[in-house]
Amino acid sequence: MLQRRITERCRIVMQDRKSLVLVAPAFAWLTAFMVVPCLLILALAFFRRGIYGGIEYDITFENFAMVLDPLYARIFLKSAWIAGLAALIAAVLGYAAAYAIASMPRHRQPALLFFAILPFWSNYLVRTYAWIVLLNREGLIVGIARALGFSGEMPQMLYTEGAVVLGLVYNYLPFVILAAYAPLSRLNPEISEASRDLGAGRWTTFRRVILPITLPGVATGFVFVFVLSIGNFVTPALLGGGQFQMIGNLVYDQFLSANDWPFGSALSMVLIAVMLVLLTAQTFANERASTGRQSAEPADG
């Protein structure tokens, strides 16, 4: 018995030594070009900006204090508002789309899902640009309105908060569809039939049974859209036209024009912190609700 346990242990060690050789190159790469750079900006966030743009190496919390400055705090809140709005709309639309896909005949679902996600794999800039073509003053929507005989003053569509939210929703919607579809497709159809059988109507069945079980998927989608949106600088720059700033733009400025790297780093760290908090909260929520997943088949007696 003891003998066998010793051989077993040796095997594990051998196995791990072999696997170490396989893992090492990628591990080294990720350490050099991800871990170290990220630790670097974590460190930078605690240094002071030099008078002429350089970095002075004494420890300070000024940069984090600056994040709380009303000027920047407002940008933070604004970013959170826009990202939250985009995430909420994307979550609702994405859930509806995923629900619709999941209620189609089984053999059609993979193709539908594939085409729902396909746009996600085309270029982000191009997808954003498409909305410039549609929304601008000489754009397609205005053109169609004119062609239909509308001659009054058209409201400004491009370079508004709405355009930015629209752009974010458009770009990240496929992501939410994918995230929301997974638990919906795994849902045992007999579960909702059971609810109907016990006397619940369609709406009650949806509210009390389907939604609680499948919500974790859409929550994952929500968190990701929020995180991706709040750090986004391309969409605000292109569809917001520099009318307002989001955190992403602020970070961008610190590195490419204002030359305040420590402050830019501090902003990034706050971004990462927000992301970590949300992801952790969501993981916890999912674990608590995970009972809802492995539902379909009863295990053995």
Partner: protein, 351 residues
């Protein structure tokens, strides 16, 4: 006994496939009724029509004389225990059971009282706060049963209720289900592919094949007087002996005469059928006799099954010998054995 449920000429078409084809049945109050058939027989479709999850292509379903064919599942006084149990994974055992009562908008105190009562009936009071995933298969099965029973439906439908359980637990639950049905006095309609299960539990069995009703009768009748060759083959073990008919004379392939009452409407090609336990070793006292070589013996504890190859017959005959008889006589392969049986135990079907 009065009729609770009338199924009248019910049909269900899926495209060109007729899953259920003109089935008519009456199910009585307080009855334990089994729908028996292999997969594709239409038994599950029929059950789902009773529950309201499939529409009828033709025909009617009457409950207490009222047509419920077009009543939505949530408005039928009928409940279904699903094959997968379909317990709500995000609710505790007690919440699962209370769900159906909440849908009836009953006062909270009454809901609690009824949930507590049924939990003690199924002996799961201690697990009321557990989530379904924390239960064993047998416990889940009982929760699913309780969830449907607590609504006190006029009719409880059970879709392969014991299918997910292991063999030992299954035979315990067969008796438990019968006990519960008796205690609650509710009509049970159970769908199963397991003929033994149907024989053990049901008061009456309906055998379905290709969407059509083959026979509907009490277990004993179904076993002793199967209506068709299919029914004879599907239930239990049956020996089939091809025979040629010449007027009132029947002759087996080896030339032996077979005596049996010939029903109306049979042609020249006939199979005679006899159950293994009706075959006797004292062949000289029997109406019918066939001799052959012993192929093999199979020991089953309760009895010994002797397989006998009859000349000119494709399949060997199976004879069940009781433990006592098996001890009294040594059956060896290649020995010649003569099997006998009486004409009263012989059934005839078209070949």
């Amino acid at each position: 006994m009065t009729t609770l449920l009338s199924i009248r000429n019910v049909e269900k078409h899926f495209g060109r496939v007729r899953a259920v084809n003109g089935v008519s049945l009456d199910i009585r109050e307080n009855e334990f009724f089994a729908l028996l058939g292999s997969s594709g027989s239409g038994k599950t479709t029929l059950l789902r029509m009773l529950a309201g999850f499939e529409t009828l292509s033709a025909g009617q379903i009457l409950l207490n004389g009222r047509d419920i064919s077009n009543v939505a599942p949530n408005h039928r006084p009928v409940n279904l225990m699903f094959q997968s149990y379909a317990l709500f994974p995000h609710m505790s055992v007690a919440q699962n059971i209370a769900y159906g009562l909440e849908m009836e908008k009953l006062p909270r105190a009454e809901i609690r009282a009824r949930v507590d009562e049924i939990l003690s009936t199924i002996q799961l009071s201690a697990l009321a706060a557990r989530k379904p995933e924390q239960l064993s298969g047998g416990q889940r099965q009982r929760v699913a049963l309780a969830r449907a029973l607590v609504k006190r439906p006029q009719l409880l439908l059970l879709d392969e209720p014991l299918g997910a359980l292991d063999k030992k637990l299954r035979s315990e639950m067969q008796l438990e289900l019968k006990r519960i049905q008796h205690q609650f006095g509710i009509t049970f309609v159970i769908v199963t592919h397991d003929q033994e299960e149907a024989l053990v539990m049901a008061d009456r069995i309906a055998i379905l094949q290709h969407g059509e009703l083959v026979q509907c009768a009490p277990p004993r009748e179904v076993y002793e007087h199967p209506a068709t060759r299919f029914a004879a083959e599907f239930i239990g073990v049956m020996n089939f002996i091809p025979v040629q008919r010449d007027g009132a004379k029947l002759t087996a392939a080896d030339g032996s005469a077979i005596h049996a009452a010939i029903p109306e409407g049979l042609g020249a090609d006939i199979v005679a059928a006899v159950r293994p336990e009706r075959l006797r070793l004292d062949a000289e006292n029997c109406d019918n006799r066939l001799s052959g070589r012993i192929l093999a013996t199979a020991y089953h504890g309760l009895d010994l099954q002797v397989h006998v190859a009859i000349p000119a017959m494709a399949k060997p005959m199976v004879c069940r010998v009781t433990a006592d008889a098996a001890e009294a006589r040594d059956f060896k392969a290649d020995d010649i054995l003569t099997l006998g049986w009486n004409s009263a135990d012989t059934r005839l079907f078209a070949a």
